[in-house]
Symmetry: C2
């Protein structure tokens, strides 16, 4: 009987495989093909890199008749030093074998540095658009952001959890929720893992989750997605919500270092601007609004996009950082699980983190006491009986705790200075887009 | 203005913090409290460990009046060697401070080695049940399985992708799909990331995803969940589907080693049985059925649970392994994207991996040629016009490729010799369960 040992695996090309003076064999997509009369420039696309190669019939006996943009090939080549080429190398093709030729030519300028089409055309033809090195690099980079976040969390005693997205009840309340029929029961797609993260604090002390989050918001803006990835964490035994902000600051610092060390290739392709994080200023909501709006600050309960831009500019000018924490939002507003400030119950121990003019995080200290949570639910016009399962955690005990959620696509968008959050979502979902 | 530096983080207890002869301060939940007259045994639960401690009023001046099971404390203690205790240490409490005492006592026997209640009671009271060390260990272990999978994938040139779960069309077809209203459009919860993984092969060569998968199956069995976590990968430029099986074999071997190195604590608590993987036998579907059923094998198109048990026993007896690959399933059956065997078009290049009597993986080589895919869709009674977006990838080119999906909960269930897959899901979703 046949056996699989898994000891001789098919290898994906790594940059370290290309040793100057040596030969390599790799399987790659032809990214660009430019016959020059007598020889040809062939650009090869591997899963991560774009490599420059030269074909000449004196060196390679194989025919180039079927070689064109988009075909899949196996190539053997000598690696030569070439300071003007990417990664300082150029391949001299010694053999080229066609593996497969697609039916049709690309409908987009995949091999250009940037696609040069509208975002709608890009998204309508997403499976082709992402073959463009800039477009795909956003998602290799996105991988890095999430991997670095997980790496930090695991090193700091957090357990990675996986919680259901089909739920009987949304964590954030309100009408912005997708509903579905679940075996004749009314169910929803979760707006955040909040309830489950809190429950998990009681048995893991610290947890994180990287998973999709659903918001049925009818916005059609450059900063909203209806399905996005949340980088969430929750930690128990805190002294105050400053512990949560400190953990986020350290996490972001680790992530930026990790990206610079492991995703330099994508940082270059994307022109990403990775900030140094030394310290992040903290401003209270009331003061932030006064700074941003002066006398017009009255009766506001949240920041507008223009406030977020203003406050980041303010942080940049005064503290030489592109981040700023805004804290102590009005306690009368959702979420109902935000702990009120014992020193000033008009405020909740809630914070936002703004970066380059955009809110990328919401977090805070949560209510851990059962009676306190019942009272706040009631104060906000909610019925505690609707939250029986959630409140079990409080009844049988939660330590003082807090946490946050970071929007992955927003963070990528801002690190790469993109104009629209859809550019940071591989197959975005918005009010008008359910395909591809 | 206040600043957050993130340089002085609240630390979670690590086993390496407990140095014999030294003092430690930790925040922990009281797992068990047993006054003995003159002194007391206190068992402490941290996020990962359960530690034995001793209180005596001669050494610790603090009152124990409010200390009981379930309260949250801060303790300073001396670490003493104690070979009979877990991890070989016992803490002598020097100070104990109550952080918070919950409203009610646990309704379950959290501090027993096993809860000793029915699975339904366990799941109904999940946020308490998971405070039991055995119950929670399943999910620390689950973390390890997923982290090890990702680690292997990243080291082997795979890119981690995140694809939408709200889709216009299910990847597996059929009626077993949840539907929802998406801004007046008819949408579904994806049955697998199949379409997106295949699209991504064209731009990343190799991809993986760890994400929820939805099946609206009306089963109520010990092996089905309606929302579960898929460990999925897809790889391009393959020679055959044996490359996919080899990659899985190597991945599983890496994962088992990783678990033994990093999750020994949970392996012990769970009594998990981590297999050695040297080689995995491969049997064709037709032969497998004949072995399992003899003459009754006719007109079968898939394996039954009893076949899976038989084949694993067969592998154990004949090849001393608890794994077996079954290949070459009938091509007339779904999925429509499975490539038919050119040497025998009655068979598809599809495989299952069975482990300890259960299918834990389905995979195979996919159709990469546009015309071939159109023909198979048509042959299976499907309309290619319904798959326009999916087929864009084929039209503009995919290399020969294949991949698979592993059910995370099923793998954990079998590694831990659990009887029901719900035990391996933190908050399971089944036909009767939408809460908690």
């Amino acid at each position: 009987m046949e056996k699989i040992t898994g000891t001789n695996l098919l290898q994906e090309f790594k940059l370290s495989d290309a040793v100057v003076g040596g030969d390599i064999t790799l399987r790659a997509t032809v990214h660009k093909y430019k016959p020059m009369g007598g020889f040809a420039f062939v650009t090869l696309r591997t899963g991560r890199y774009v490599l420059q190669a030269v074909y000449s019939p004196e060196i390679c006996p194989d025919s180039m008749d079927d070689i064109k943009e988009g075909v899949f090939t196996e190539i053997t080549a000598e690696v030569r030093e070439e300071p003007r080429a990417s990664y300082g190398i150029e391949l001299t093709i010694k053999s080229i074998k066609l593996i497969y030729a697609p039916k049709e030519n690309y409908p987009l300028h995949v091999s250009k540095r940037r696609l040069g089409c509208s975002l709608d055309i890009n998204l309508d033809n997403r499976s082709v658009a992402l073959r463009n090195p800039y477009e795909r690099a956003a998602f290799k980079f996105q991988e890095g952001v999430a991997v670095a976040f997980a790496d930090f969390m695991l090193k700091n005693g957090f357990t990675e959890i996986r919680t259901p997205k089909i739920v009987a009840q949304g964590a954030e309340g309100g009408a912005n929720i997708f509903s579905l029929d679940y075996f004749q029961k009314h169910a929803f797609l979760n707006q955040s893992p909040q309830f489950y993260k809190q429950a998990a604090v009681a048995f893991f002390d610290r947890v994180f989750e990287i998973a999709p989050v659903y918001r049925a918001e009818k916005h059609a803006t450059s900063r909203h997605l209806n399905e996005y990835i949340g980088l969430d964490f929750e930690m128990g035994f805190i002294d105050s919500f400053y512990d949560v902000m400190a953990m986020e600051t350290a996490a972001l610092r680790h992530m930026m270092t990790y990206l610079k060390e492991n995703y330099a290739n994508e940082i270059t392709i994307l022109g990403a601007d990775i900030p140094e994080i030394t310290e992040i200023p903290v401003i209270k909501f009331e003061e932030a609004l006064k700074l941003s709006r002066g006398d017009k600050a009255k009766n506001k309960f949240d920041l507008d996009p223009s406030d977020e831009v203003f406050l980041c500019d303010y942080a940049k000018e005064n503290f030489d950082t592109e981040f700023i924490f805004v804290t102590h939002f009005p306690s009368s507003k959702p979420p109902f699980y935000a702990k009120d400030d014992p020193e000033d119950p008009r405020c909740a121990l809630k914070f936002d983190l703004l970066f380059r003019g955009l809110e990328i995080t919401t977090g805070g200290q949560r209510i851990h006491d059962y009676d306190e949570q019942i009272a706040k639910l009631t104060r906000q016009g909610l019925n505690p009986d609707d939250f029986t399962h959630y409140l079990e955690s409080h009844k049988y005990g939660l330590p003082p705790h807090g946490g946050l959620g970071i929007g992955l696509e927003r963070l990528v968008m801002k690190l790469c200075n993109m104009q629209n959050v859809r550019q940071a979502s591989m197959f975005p979902r918005d009010i008008n887009r359910l395909l591809p």
